[in-house]
Amino acid sequence: MKNILLRLFLTFLKIGATTFGGGYAMIPIIRNDVVDHQKWLSEEELLEILAIAESTPGPIAVNVATYTGYKIKGFWGSVLATLGVVLPSFIIIFGISILYNYVKDNPYIAAAFMGIKAAVALLILTAGLRMLKKMKKTWYSIPVFIIITSALIVFDLFALNFSSVFLILGGAALGFFLFYLLPIIKKKTKKESDK
């Protein structure tokens, strides 16, 4: 009984320690361990969890760990699997953050970071553009995308204090109204006019 909890912890510890970059890069490694090796999930279940992960907040690896842990061993299974997947990055980053304060003023390290900054800006931009390419282009999504992108830049340039949380909540409210309430209202008024 304890054995399976330990195995959940160790398997997700390994996944946490070997997945770089986060997001979709970790899926092949997760599949190899969780589906092929341990047989905790079927291929269909993994796909289903990935779909869930897409529409819930939080890193995919953490979502898969929580779900798998719960399925195999209930609440404590989910706690240990999640702890396992988080622990390696926590320890590594903790070590680096201590080191960072000592080395950041070294001229070579500082120069390396000048380069890294350019890479990071580019990585974020390409990830965003890739999502834009995949996004379904509709009368809703295109204007919203343009408004949000320009709003963010205006807030930044004029140093306005505005939280993106409100933009996300606004998108949620708009989606609920346009794609759920409005079709219901339309149906109702159509029925009444038919009478």
Partner: protein, 188 residues
């Protein structure tokens, strides 16, 4: 009380971090700059480190910022804050709400959110890019042509890589290139 503040701020970031990693960067940027925890340049350093180490970016960033503000306990509390929302939500889905994702209202809400997330990520990428080459503060106008050169070279590598190797460039390889050009242009 720095611990409580870290916990609440990262709980908020964790709750709204859709879109796999990059989705929460605009919120994280607002938080760390408003709270004076990091400058925009330091934030880019941190993201670079988070990209080059294992584990999800959101967690790496939480550990890093938390540790810088409140030592190991601060790091642990920020990390706990950022994963708690997704932990609770996935647990609820696994236990009872399996069908909520297929429900019409939920799908309508997600359709409303999706383009917002794409806009947030593209916008953040653009902000970091023009900040990098010094175009943010036009009054001082400290144009950083070296960073622009590195950015253009890296963009060319990103575009050329799939044509040669038939797959997308691994972020780690891009970061290795960026370190090389950073040292070549800024230290030598």
């Amino acid at each position: 009380m720095i611990y409580l503040l870290l916990f609440i701020e990262f709980l908020k970031i964790g709750l709204f971090s859709f879109g796999g990693g990059y989705g929460m960067l605009s919120m994280m940027k607002e938080t760390v700059i408003n709270r004076n925890w990091l400058s925009e340049a330091q934030m880019l350093d941190f993201i670079g480190i988070a990209e080059s180490t294992p584990g999800p970016i959101a967690i790496n960033m939480a550990t890093f910022i938390g540790t810088a503000q409140g030592g190991i306990l601060g790091g642990a509390i920020a990390t706990l804050g950022v994963i708690l929302p997704s932990f609770v939500i996935i647990l609820l889905i696994a236990i009872i709400l399996k069908n909520i994702l297929q429900s019409k209202p939920f799908q309508a809400i997600m359709a409303g959110i999706r383009p917002v997330i794409v806009g947030l990520i593209v916008g953040t990428g653009l902000i970091f890019t023009y900040g990098l080459i010094g175009l943010k503060d036009v009054s001082t106008f400290s144009f950083d042509y070296k960073s622009l050169i590195i950015f253009v070279i890296l963009a060319a590598i990103t575009l050329a890589y799939p044509r040669i190797f038939k797959k997308r460039i691994n972020p780690l390889i891009l970061i290795a290139f960026s370190i090389f050009f950073g040292i070549a242009l800024f230290a030598i």
